[in-house]
Symmetry: C2
Subunit: 308 residues, 2 copies
């Protein structure tokens, strides 16, 4: 079983409008409602790939109930911890003509010390049956900044490979707890290391404690610094579409490859192909299975000189 | 008891952001959630004025439950009819700096013939205890365009004064059923009569069947064509602020004045003062009671020459 943790879950709303015009009134032509937050997105992709997947994190209030009702119909097991505060909503406004997206994120509910303790207990219990765990997304208010470091240490103690996908100070603290893998994008990497040069920044991030670092290069693929070497993986061609969820699909590909026992080049190919197939999907955050199978064998993975 | 009917209720979300930028990501700094739809707004103002108020209309799904949970804490009695489809949401994005608002309205759920029959039955029953009724807002999908005409006739048959506040073809059909009062704004009036000259258009609307027409002149006040004469009511000064809900507060003022037995100039003064006090309120759709009491005696109502 693969476990994903989403401390700041959300009820994601996608609104399609002809074109968003500030200070005007718009009729929404299509509404899509679904469970959100990075770890839930990762879990959905893992489920679609056929992995037994469990999600934990927090859910509360009527929006939390709506989120759980959506999960009840899917392939992912719901082990979310109930909280008093209401789960936040996010609204993605997609212009029908251009596909451009305007994003609005509600603040998350404040988590109490008791709720956090219940979560860590549930997490420790779930780790006993997990072959890998992903810790994903931002921290809601009320949770201490070293929370991911604490969860990384629990996973390491339980012998479960742990991937951390977050940003800012929670990433900085989390890396120091020596996760097996972090997956920063260019902005997260620059904030962490102070460098926008991908090779240098990726290797620097690894020196901060992560056993492996896989950096997203956006449409150009990914760069991986691991104990086995340095690789660059690139899709056959840059794809055009909606990048929403592409990073989460990459995380799912890396975890999936890990539990399937693939070597690094194969894991990276899976991550890059899933990411590209997500950009190509007409539904934001879903991946196009045909595109995935078509792109996978055409991803190029090249070993990089260690001093490059 | 005053009854308001809202066929297209909504869960209204107000999001405050520093400034809305298309195709960017925004953290929402404040979320306000409350029952929405014109008739619910009118009822909230009536309740705040001390009137016993009942709302009917439709509510369904988790969003409908959230709407009803909000009503449960207020001064308005909930007689909404449950439906299978989920109540729509609306999102008002308010720029903190300028106060400008961008509006997104989800489509309403489709109402079945059975649900419509249950509503008309509930409405007929509620009319027996009502001193006035307001029919407010747009029609959700599935409801025939003559629906308001049907509800107007039921109210007339029960001897209950009926105010109709809608637009387009439902307004055109509804007026022909001879409601006691319609309250169009400039755009609704122009669509109905083809004229943007307020005096001409207001008198024309009255000839189409309404016993009285009160037209909104926006910040300049209101114009009323009634069986007793033609009046213009103006606030002491144009007010600046958020006009959201100002029209609904005017409807509440007209109904409140009607059941309190006020004459036309006093009713209009109440409507204009409530409308201005709503524009001045820091919370969209609420009215500022201090401003209302201060403005009320300073509204000027002047009788207009019938041939003006």
């Amino acid at each position: 079983m693969i476990l994903t943790v989403t401390l700041n879950t959300a009820l994601d709303l996608t609104y399609r409008v002809p074109a968003l015009t500030p200070h005007a009134s718009h009729r929404v032509t299509q509404v899509i409602e679904r469970p959100g937050g990075k770890g839930l997105n990762v879990a959905r992709v893992l489920g679609a790939l056929g992995h037994e997947t469990v999600v934990t994190g927090f859910a509360g209030g009527p929006t939390g109930e709506m989120l759980r009702a959506h999960l009840a119909g899917g392939r992912v097991r719901d082990e979310l911890v109930p909280i008093a505060g209401p789960t936040r909503r996010t609204v993605a406004i997609v212009d029908t003509a251009s596909g451009d997206t305007t994003q609005l994120n509600e603040p998350g509910p404040t988590i109490t010390a008791t709720e956090w303790s219940v979560l860590t207990g549930r997490y420790a219990q779930l780790l006993t049956g997990a072959s890998a765990v992903a810790l994903c997304g931002s921290l809601p208010p009320g949770i201490h900044v070293g929370a991911y470091a604490e969860l990384v240490r629990l996973a390491r103690g339980a012998g479960v490979p742990v991937l951390l996908d977050t940003s800012g100070e929670p990433l900085r603290r989390g890396i120091a707890a020596r996760p097996d893998l972090v997956k920063p994008n260019a902005d997260e990497l620059a904030a962490l290391t102070g460098s926008r040069e991908p090779h240098r920044a990726t290797r620097d991030a690894r020196r901060r404690g992560a056993h492996a670092v896989v950096s997203s290069l956006g449409p150009d693929g990914m760069l991986a610094a691991t104990g086995d070497g340095l690789w660059r993986a690139a899709p056959p061609a840059a794809v055009k579409g909606n990048p929403t969820g592409a990073g989460d699909s990459a995380v799912a590909g890396l975890l999936s490859g890990l539990v399937d026992g693939l070597d690094w080049p194969e894991r990276l190919a899976r991550a890059v192909a899933l990411s590209a197939a997500t950009v190509l999907s007409p539904v934001a955050g879903e991946f196009d299975r045909g595109a995935y199978e078509e792109i996978l064998p055409r991803v190029t993975v090249t070993e990089q000189a260690a001093a490059a």
